[in-house]
Structure formats: C-alpha cells, structure tokens
Homo-oligomer: 159 residues x 2
C-alpha cells in the first residue's frame, strides 16, 4: 500500500502544497477535487496534527544570499546514540539539515551554512563536543528538490 491512512484527497493536498505551500488556497485544491474548501482546510489541519506534515519551509538559495560556505559534514555516531545526537546536531547554530543514514561509517549527514571558515570550524567543534566523529567534509555546490510524484493521485489531474 502506498500511504497509510491517507486517501486520494490527502495525497492531492500534499502534492499541491509541495508545489507551493504559501500560495495555494484551499479553494483551488477543493475545486480540483470537487469538495468544499472547508473540507480541504480540515484535512490540512489533520495532516499537521497527525504529523504527516511537519511544517512549511522556504527553499532558499544560500549561495545567492551570500553564504558561500554551504557544507556537507559526514559524521559517524554510535548507533545507540544516533537518533539523539542527530536531534541535538540540528540545534547547533548554522546546521540546517541532518539525515540519519541506516548503516555504515558516515551514518549522519549534516549540512551547515557558514559565513567563513571560522564559523565552520566552530560548527565542527560543536559536533565533536556532542560526540560525533567527523569523517569527511565537502562544499555543497548546489541543491535541488522536487515534489514527490507519488502524492499526485492517479495522475489524471496532476498538472
């Protein structure tokens, strides 16, 4: 099964908001799915409350904004501590994303934005202090994201 507890309307809502979370009125989704706008708003609230939707974030071009040090820091954390450390890492100033990888050395991928190399050294030290071992560090040249196609219903109405 594709999506637990989510019906076609939920999937279409997620799809629409993935494309533009700020400028997509409920009415627009409602018309496409032939329900009332309130139904769409009720569903959005349910998706938020039940944790399917964790938030609405900006996609920022950090490079254009003048932060040339957009860095991937590959770390190793002991498996029993990995989840807790990952949650602590995301609170380190400058860290914008943390991925916990299932296996292997380099099981936590952290992306940090820095203004200069001192800033990145400080981030590295903070991560070390938390208990990470840093195994590699590289500049991220670019990042692209794309809405997941699988939420777009049966495709008969995907844009």
């Amino acid at each position: 099964m594709v999506a637990d507890g989510l019906d076609e309307l939920d999937r279409y809502i997620i799809h629409s908001l993935q494309l533009d979370a700020r400028n997509t009125p409920a009415r627009e989704i409602a018309e496409a799915m032939d329900v009332s706008p309130s139904t769409v708003r009720n569903r959005i609230h349910r998706l938020e409350e039940e944790g399917y939707v964790r938030g609405y974030h900006l996609d920022i071009d950090y490079e254009r904004a003048g932060f040339q040090l957009y860095t991937l820091i590959i770390c190793t954390a002991p498996i029993p501590d990995r989840e807790r450390l990952a949650q602590e890492a995301v609170e380190v100033p400058g860290v914008v994303s943390v991925r916990e990888i299932m296996t292997g050395a380099g099981n936590v991928h952290i992306v940090a934005v820095g203004t200069d190399s001192d800033d990145l050294s400080r981030i590295g030290q903070d991560l070390n202090a938390l208990g990470f071992e840093i195994v590699d560090e590289d500049i991220v040249r670019n990042e692209y994201s794309h809405p997941y196609h699988g939420f777009a219903g049966d495709d008969s109405r995907s844009n």
Copy 2:
C-alpha cells in the same frame, strides 16, 4: 558582510518564513519590524523574483506517510556533466532531492522515495541511464531540518 544585497528586513522576512511559510501573514512581519504590510509583500516578491527564495515546500514525514523506502543514493558524475546530470536526476520520478558535492567520488547525493524495492531498482536504472555511476545506497532513517539562524536579525549566532 553576511548577506549580499539583503538588509535586516529581508533577513527577518526570510527567518519568519523559514519558521512557517504558510501561516505567517505579512502583517505579522510588518508589525515586528515596524513597516507597512505592503512593504513586506513587496520585499517578498523581490526575494522571489531575484531568486533568493526558490519556493515554499512542505516538510513531510515520509515514513509516517507510509513510504518506508526513503533512500540515499550516492553517485559519481563526471565533473563537466555534473550540474546538467543533477538537474536531470531531480526529474526522475521518485527523486526528491539532489545535492551536488564539490569534490571526490560520490559527488552527487540523491534522495529518492520508493514504495517497494522494484521502484528503487527502476530509479537506479534511470540514474544509470542518465550517466551516473552508483557508488552506494542506504536507507535514510530520519531527516530533520532547521531554519538558518543567521537570518534572524542581527544577533548573529543565538538562534
């Protein structure tokens, strides 16, 4: 200087929208910064037009939504083709994120969401067909993101 061409109002707008891009009215930002709501709206449009803000996306808990195969595919692309291939990769159905890494083997990190292992094999084949060499593949156990603190007004590192 922290951010080229961005003043304190722009940074505060970015910060606010990073926290909640869907439910933050311009009026709220305007009051905090003591300008009119239309000034805030004009600035938001400028940030979009000039490419600082690339979009507004949902932060979805793919695991809760029933997609247990949230996978990091580490690939190598020849440097001259890297950018073009990265842009093509993001269009492969199931791919949700692509990071171009500056150096080394594994210079493109792709995250894909799959419903089953056939789906992921198909994605791997598609990436191969584009010209990527796949060097590693791992399940992403969890992913967290956090607004960049540096946009939050002038106290540069206390988020």
